[in-house]
């Protein structure tokens, strides 16, 4: 039985280092190639030696697919392709291809330049790696080789995030990457058609959460910012460079526009500026509103948001500043925070989760006195707000996607084991499909029952359908034809054509049977009696009495001769071709029962 094998090298019952190996119908595909934020040693990259101990990876993998540009989905790519060695194609969407190298370069800089690591990939390696990338469009079917094809679907989450369908023959797998089922201010919701894959590999970050409507959070956020600005306070929003930052920018920009506000909004320069440039370019990947209005004005060409300069932080009057990084652990956001923390009119809004140990986490948990480096004590008087803006599908969203795609099996990755357990149970209960959640390195095997397509010649189809009633969806239909299996393809053709193609002469197979009947009368009288009898019984068939004394029922021939020894016994010779087997055997059994005692 054909099978699909899935082995997560990362992201199996875990978040981070997404890397999943799939082998389907003899093809091996690697989905994502990410790094783990939590580790700084070898564990940060997936263990590629699992694939092969020695030798190029190219020989073992048919292609690599990257779902989006987050580092936990693409961070290990240069290491994988340049240092371990892979020369095959890497597929990603256009925005991912554009933004991915920026992030990789940034990541490299931090690891090599700041932390001083050696034996890390270089800028050149990133460039070389990107040369192997093939960019795909949404809903474009890309033929990797003759059999393997992939297709991208919109996934929301971040700009350019995509779900991929991998298809070989009739078997298919859908890998969702990270996705979001609720639209936000700059991106739409994930969407997939009813593609009925054999396996759906879904992320499950929020497997046990059903989220509140986004509108409340947005309104709260805007109200907080607006109130503070009206009071003359300054608002600091620490963000990471890509993703949520753009959403919040759009949110504030439109609000400023609507409410006619004048307070300046600043955005810390650097990485974000470059990224914004790409957001401007890839308008087709954004949501309905931005797509519809970009002709008048591109929403990412901010009117109210300007680039930030270090000196602006000391300016009097209200302002809003987006600064990196998001957890207030270093860099510009921390600098600004230190300047503004003392004033109770000011406010800091944390738009996302903060890791333990960071300043962000401390102030969120209510700490008001912070010890900074150099034994300095910073008293936090400013207001601290937490707003969660997350772009992953919640439990309901995951279920909704499963409902849309209608897979045969589901496999959960990118989530915590305990939470997955719950979702797995729900999926099995509600959709009655198998659900798997392998750990890293664990292989899951899924048996598929692929339907085998057979080409049928039009003539045969028409002929066969014309015979019976209209085709009914529910009932299988019997057909006569010849199945030709040749060069890996199946064809159903009419027997005549098959004979012609194969160069064979047609042989006729006839069954003959003798039936003895006790009848003292003359031969032709017996024939007449048989004829009358058959005519009476087989009303729907054409029964003919031929002049040479034989009877035909359709194509079945019946001849009567007197028995050589016993004149009272007549021998009926019944002969039919194998196509008429059904009728022929019926006829013989009928004749064996004998003729009715004629009244005449």
């Amino acid at each position: 039985m054909p099978e699909i094998k899935v082995t997560p090298l990362g992201a199996g019952q875990d978040v981070g280092r997404s890397c999943i190996l799939v082998s389907i119908a003899g093809k091996n595909v690697m989905l994502d190639c990410g790094m783990h934020m939590g580790y700084n040693d070898d564990r940060r990259f997936p263990d590629f030696s699992y694939i092969t101990q020695n030798g190029r990876l190219t020989d073992f993998l048919d292609c690599v697919i990257i779902s989006h540009f987050h580092l936990d989905h693409c961070g290990a790519l240069p290491y994988f392709s340049e240092m371990v060695g892979y020369d095959g194609p890497i597929y990603m969407t256009h925005p991912t291809k554009a933004i991915c190298p920026i992030l990789l370069e940034d990541y490299r800089k931090i690891t090599v330049d700041k932390k001083g690591e050696t034996n890390f990939f270089t800028s050149q390696m990133i460039k070389d790696c990107m040369k192997k990338v093939v960019a795909v469009h949404l809903h474009q079917t890309v033929q990797v080789d003759e059999e393997l094809e992939i297709k991208a679907y919109y996934a929301g989450h971040v700009l350019g995030a995509a779900m991929f369908q991998i298809k070989v023959g009739c078997e298919s797998v859908v890998y969702t990457g990270d996705y979001n089922m609720t639209p936000d201010r700059h991106l739409g919701a994930a969407w997939i058609d009813k593609c009925r894959p054999d396996l759906l590999i879904s992320e499950s970050t929020y497997a046990t959460t059903i989220r509140d409507s986004k509108r409340c959070r947005e309104r709260d956020f805007l109200k907080k910012v607006h109130e503070t600005v009206e009071r003359g306070g300054k608002v600091l929003i620490p963000v990471f460079a890509l993703g949520r930052a753009q959403e919040l920018c759009i949110l504030l920009e439109t609000f400023w526009e609507r409410m006619n506000l004048k307070a300046p909004i600043y955005f810390s320069t650097g990485l974000t500026e470059k990224a914004n440039h790409y957001y401007k370019l890839f308008i087709t990947w954004t949501n309905q509103k931005i797509r519809k209005t970009f002709v008048q004005r591109n929403m990412f060409e901010f009117k109210h948001i300007k680039a930030f300069d270090r000196a602006f932080a000391d300016n009097p009057g209200p302002m809003v500043v987006f600064a990196t990084p998001g957890m207030l652990h270093a860099g510009q956001s921390l600098q600004i925070f230190r300047k503004w923390a003392g004033n109770e009119k000011n406010m800091v809004i944390m738009p996302g989760y903060c890791v333990q140990g960071t300043v962000g986490h401390k102030i969120l948990s209510g700490q008001r006195k912070l010890e900074m480096e150099g034994r300095q004590i910073l008293e936090v008087k400013m207001q601290v707000e937490y707003m969660s803006f997350s772009a992953h599908a919640d439990a309901k969203g995951i279920m909704q996607l499963i409902r849309q795609a209608e897979p045969q099996n589901v496999l959960l990755v990118h989530g915590e084991a305990k939470k997955m357990e719950f979702l797995k149970q729900k999926i099995e209960q509600e959709f009655h499909v198998n659900c798997y959640m392998p750990a890293n390195g664990e292989t899951t095997t899924i048996f598929t029952n692929p339907s085998i397509p057979v080409d049928i010649s039009l003539g045969l189809l028409k002929r066969e359908t014309a015979i019976g009633l209209l085709p009914d969806v529910k009932k299988p239909k019997l057909m006569h034809g010849t199945l030709i299996m040749k060069d890996n393809s199946f064809r159903l053709v009419s027997p005549e054509q098959a004979l012609k193609e194969l160069g064979l002469a047609e042989h006729q197979l006839r069954f003959t049977c003798r039936v003895h009947i006790q009848d003292p009368r003359k031969e032709h009288e017996t024939v007449l009696r048989v004829y009358n009898h058959l005519k009476a019984v087989l009303k729907d068939y054409s029964v003919q009495h031929l002049p040479d004394g034989s009877i035909t029922v359709e194509s079945i021939l019946i001849q009567a001769t007197a028995h050589s020894e016993d004149q009272g016994t007549k021998v009926l010779l019944v002969s039919w071709t194998y196509q008429d087997e059904e009728l022929g055997s019926y006829l013989t059994s009928l004749l064996k029962k004998g003729l009715p005692q004629s009244t005449s």
Partner: protein, 969 residues
């Protein structure tokens, strides 16, 4: 047979028709043009290739065919149809047959047999489908004939087994449109066909082709629309279709389920996989809710829209739609809305949010959580969050409809609607504000909700702000803090957008009169009075101060203790505002002051309204007194006109009626004056004065009649006749005057001709009204018509003069409702002393803001006129998008007018006013003449040549001070 047909065609070709005209004077001989069918036949015979024939047919299809020759043409076409081998030509012929049978006045039963016959031998599926389509057209024209319908349905049933989806599609459509609906009839006729239409259609619900499935559902819906009661059994089938792969099937299935839920709301259906049962409407509601999260947005829109009309659903299900059952880490979580409510009820307000404030509380039993099959759960939450704004709008509309019927639901959905005020698309925001206004009777806003609502007042879009003002006009606020908050925010709005002044004042007027008891404790603070100290008198021209006063005075109307809190200047200001802004400030019973205006008792119903009676009585009087001597008539008319005008000023609801009749009487008066005998008998040299009077009168009457016809909404054809009649009289008067002043008969001849033509067209337009006009001018004129046509102009004039004088005065019947179109220019106000300076030769944009009442089709008729001091006039056509429609009968024009002029030395005033454009062609009378598309276009109505275009000013002109400066070099 063909030969016979051809003969018939050629007969038509040379048919000579004698047309008998009613007027015996003009007997004309007319030749009908060569018949279309003959030409077609010739063409088709000439055609050598299918492409040629197709070309001929295409050309033929462009021209209309007269009713009489349709049948002939059809025969010709059919004949060619049988001969034709090419499927595309047959297809075109089939489609032409359908087109021809649509011809008005043609009864297609004669060609039905042939059309059915053609079906028999047809092999091409496309042609077959087209033929069925033709049969559908024929069937829809003959719906009254049950046997024809039965026959067609039978034909359709026969072709249902066709292998092409197109044919099956058409068959189902045919069955849907023509299938028997009435049970009784069905019984008799069905005996031979013995088929249940519903069953036949139902069988195709699981056809292999999605297009056929869709057609089947649509046919079922069609049957329902035609009045057949669908069976409940198809409910299960329809439910299965909801999971179809194709969106158009799902979309249609949603509709079908909705229909069934409306038909059998109370029947009980089992819940699969459990032995519980629920009401069908609840089950259907759950299913449609489920479709709100469908993959296709078309289906989502459809589902969201239909939810709104399912009012029988039980409240338990309804309220689920707003509850998503949040959880986090498997623990139950409260929504932000719940938290806000709790915060509010615990008395704590606007606490700084702490991290983990929304920390989930109780553990959830994992088994009990149901992630998807929870039916209605959170449907609206999803709908309102949808990525397509079409879905969001549909969801808001549905919320509105459901909330209107269920107060408890209205209370619950409030939070969600308030959230929608922050949507990214303005249309959605606007829609949700309107929705909120519609359900505002059922709800009282909590303070935190009010806060969110008021935050939107700063929106830069004028439409949003005005919608919000309207909303505030009819909301209930629960606390005095709420009122205060609203006032503060509205004043903030006023300073930010001073142009909103009127709208804000109006809003405060209602806010005050709705909540007098809440305003009362705020009065000292608002007026900043102090028990011991005198406070400075506020500036009377400050719009903010006026706003506060409007609020207070309106509250004081039903709160008699309030005036005691006013200080002296407040009373003075009251007197001033009562005069200057009487529509905003109500009459108050103040100590030491008499109530000036008469009390309006609302108990009197309009029927017994004395003013209405007065109107009718005075009109009766006038109409009865037509035989008095002219002097008496004149005086009576003058008095009545004066009375009516005054009545119109006093009673706004009767203003339209009173003005209309007054105008009519005015016309009559003018006519009587102009025809006074004394003047006409004077000798020729003294004509001068009388001529001037008469021609001026005629001109004025003409103008007034145009006003009567086009400025009032609700004018019916009965009035239009009278108006036209009056106009005719005026024209007659003009003719007489010109006849007496001009010498020579040459110019007169043309004028007479023209006048007679007008009489003729009048007669044709209003032939049905003529019996009501006994003894009128036109009646007499028509009697004399034969004489007039033949006589010389001078005689004509003489006849006209006597008829005019002898004719009686027509009674003007009043329609039910009559409103005069009015316009008020709000902006520019015309108060500014600062001239608008601009460089000459360049343009300056002037914002014009006006409200229009009772204007029909303002986009087409309202124009802005700018008059420069040098007499130059400029007419501007506002864009259709500049008109908004805030309420029934009301329009708002917000536009920009571009001004330009050469340099002036001094600033000077220009006048801006609104005009109502009219075109007598567009008049209500001519619209009634049936215009058939297939009728011969050669016989164009003579209306167009005497169509008069003009404009009526209908707003007070506003003066704007401008100063074009010479350009500096």
């Amino acid at each position: 047979m063909a030969a016979h047909l051809k003969k018939r065609v050629y007969e038509e070709f040379t048919k000579v028709v004698q047309q008998q005209h009613e007027d015996l004077s003009a007997k004309k001989l007319r030749l009908t043009k060569p018949s279309k069918s003959a030409a077609l036949h010739v063409d088709l015979c000439k055609a050598t290739s299918p492409a040629d024939a197709l070309q001929y047919l295409l050309q033929f299809a462009r021209k209309p065919v007269e009713v009489e020759s349709v049948e002939g043409v059809v025969r010709i076409l059919l004949e060619h149809y049988y001969k034709e081998n090419d499927a595309s030509v047959r297809l075109k012929i089939a489609s032409l047959l359908g087109l021809l049978s649509k011809t008005a006045g043609f009864s297609p039963d004669c060609i039905m047999d042939d059309a059915i016959n053609t079906l028999q031998n047809e092999k091409s599926h496309q042609v077959l489908a087209q033929l069925l389509d033709t049969l559908l057209v024929i069937g829809t024209k003959l719906t009254e004939n049950p046997s024809v319908r039965m026959r067609l349905v039978e034909v359709a049933c026969k072709h249902l087994t066709d292998s092409s989806h197109g044919v099956r599609n058409k068959c189902l459509q045919l069955i849907g449109c023509l299938g028997p609906v009435e049970k009784g009839v069905a019984k008799e006729v069905e005996s031979q066909s013995a088929k249940d239409v519903q069953k036949i259609i139902g069988d195709h619900f699981n056809d292999q082709d999605p297009r056929v499935r869709t057609a089947a559902i649509k046919a079922m819906l069609q049957l329902h629309e035609r009045g057949l009661k669908l069976q409940q059994t198809i409910y299960c089938q329809a439910c299965k279709l909801l999971a179809d792969d194709y969106e158009q099937v799902r979309s249609a299935a949603v509709q079908l389920i909705w229909v069934l839920s409306q038909l059998y709301p109370e029947s009980i259906v089992p819940i699969p996989s459990s032995n519980e049962e629920i009401r069908l409407v609840d089950d259907a509601f759950g299913k449609i809710c489920h479709m709100v999260s469908d993959g296709s947005w078309v289906v989502r829109v459809q589902a969201a829209k239909l939810l709104g009309s399912m009012q029988q659903v039980s409240s338990h299900f309804l309220e689920q739609t707003l509850d998503k059952k949040l959880m986090s880490d498997l623990r139950r979580k409260r929504t932000a809305h719940e938290r806000a409510k709790e915060l509010y009820s615990s008395g704590e307000f606007s606490s700084g949010r702490k991290w983990g404030d929304d920390a989930p509380k109780e553990e959830i039993d994992t088994g009990a959580v149901n992630l998807i099959e929870s039916g209605a759960c959170g449907a609206f939450v999803h709908g309102l969050e949808d990525e397509m704004y079409e879905v969001r709008i549909a969801a808001v509309e549905a919320l509105c409809m459901l909330a209107q019927s269920s107060p408890s639901f209205a209370e619950k959905c409030l939070d969600f609607l308030v959230d929608m005020f922050n949507d990214e698309i303005e249309e959605v925001r606007l829609q949700s504000i309107h929705t909120m206004r519609k359900i505002s009777n059922n709800i009282t806003l909590r303070e935190d909700q009010l806060d969110t609502v008021l935050a939107v007042l700063e929106d830069s879009s004028r439409d949003i702000r005005e919608a919000l003002h309207e909303l505030l006009c009819c909301t209930n606020v629960s606390t005095k803090e709420g009122i205060h908050l609203a006032l503060v925010e509205l004043l903030k709005n006023l300073t930010k957008y001073p142009t909103d002044r009127e709208s804000i004042w109006k809003c405060l007027k209602f806010l005050g009169s709705r909540h007098p008891t809440l305003v009362l404790p705020l009065v000292p603070e608002l007026l900043s009075t102090h028990p011991f100290f005198d406070t400075p008198e506020p500036d009377m021209d400050d719009p903010a101060y006026i706003a506060v006063l409007v609020l207070i005075f309106n509250a004081a109307k039903s709160c008699p203790t309030m005036p005691a809190l006013f200080s002296d200047h407040t009373f003075r200001h009251y007197a001033y505002l009562r005069d200057s802004l009487s529509h905003l400030v109500p009459p108050l019973r103040l100590p030491g002051r008499k109530l000036v205006s008469s009390p309006v008792s609302p108990s009197i119903t309009p029927n017994e309204d004395p003013s209405q009676q007065f109107l009718h009585q005075s009109l009766e009087r006038v109409y009865n007194l037509q035989h008095l001597d002219p002097q008496g008539v004149q005086e009576l008319l003058e008095f009545t006109i004066r009375d009516l005008q005054r009545l119109g000023e006093l009673q706004s609801e009767l203003a339209g009626m009173a003005d209309f009749t007054a105008t009519y009487l005015q016309c009559q008066l003018l006519l009587i004056k102009a025809l006074q005998e004394k003047l006409w008998n004077v000798a020729a040299p003294l004509y001068l004065k009388q001529n001037a009077l008469a021609s001026a009168a005629a001109k004025q009457i003409l103008e007034e009649t145009y006003k009567m016809e086009f400025m009032y909404s609700g004018v019916e054809s009965r009035q239009v006749v009278i108006i036209h009649h009056m106009r005719l009289q005026a024209k007659a008067l003009q003719l007489i005057v010109t006849a007496r002043t001009t010498r020579g008969a040459e110019p007169l001849f043309g004028m007479c001709e023209k006048f007679l033509q007008e009489v003729d067209s009048f007669q044709r337009c209003f032939i049905s009204e003529l019996p009501h006009m006994q003894g009128s001018f036109v009646d007499k004129l028509l009697d004399l018509m034969p004489r007039l046509v033949t006589s010389k102009p001078s005689e004509v004039v003489k006849i006209l003069q006597t008829t005019l004088r002898q004719s009686t005065f027509l009674h003007l019947p009043l329609p039910e409702q009559l409103h005069r179109a009015t316009a008020t220019i709000i902006e520019p106000t015309g108060e500014s002393d600062n001239p608008l300076r601009f460089t000459s030769g360049l343009v300056v944009a002037l914002d014009v803001d006006a409200t229009l009442e009772h204007v029909q089709d303002p986009q087409g008729t309202v124009k802005v006129q700018v008059l420069y001091p040098d007499g130059q006039a400029q007419l501007i056509h506002p864009k259709p998008a500049d008109f908004r429609n805030p309420g029934p009968g009301r329009h708002r024009l917000i536009t920009q007018v571009y001004l330009s002029h050469t340099a002036w030395t001094e600033p000077c005033q220009i006048e801006v006013r609104l005009l109502l454009a009219y075109n007598s062609n567009r008049s209500k009378a001519s619209a009634k003449i049936p215009k058939s598309t297939w009728s011969d276009s050669m016989e164009a109505l003579p209306q167009s040549e005497n169509g008069i275009e003009g404009t009526i000013p209908f707003s007070k002109p506003v003066k704007v001070y401008i100063m074009p400066k010479p350009a500096r070099r």
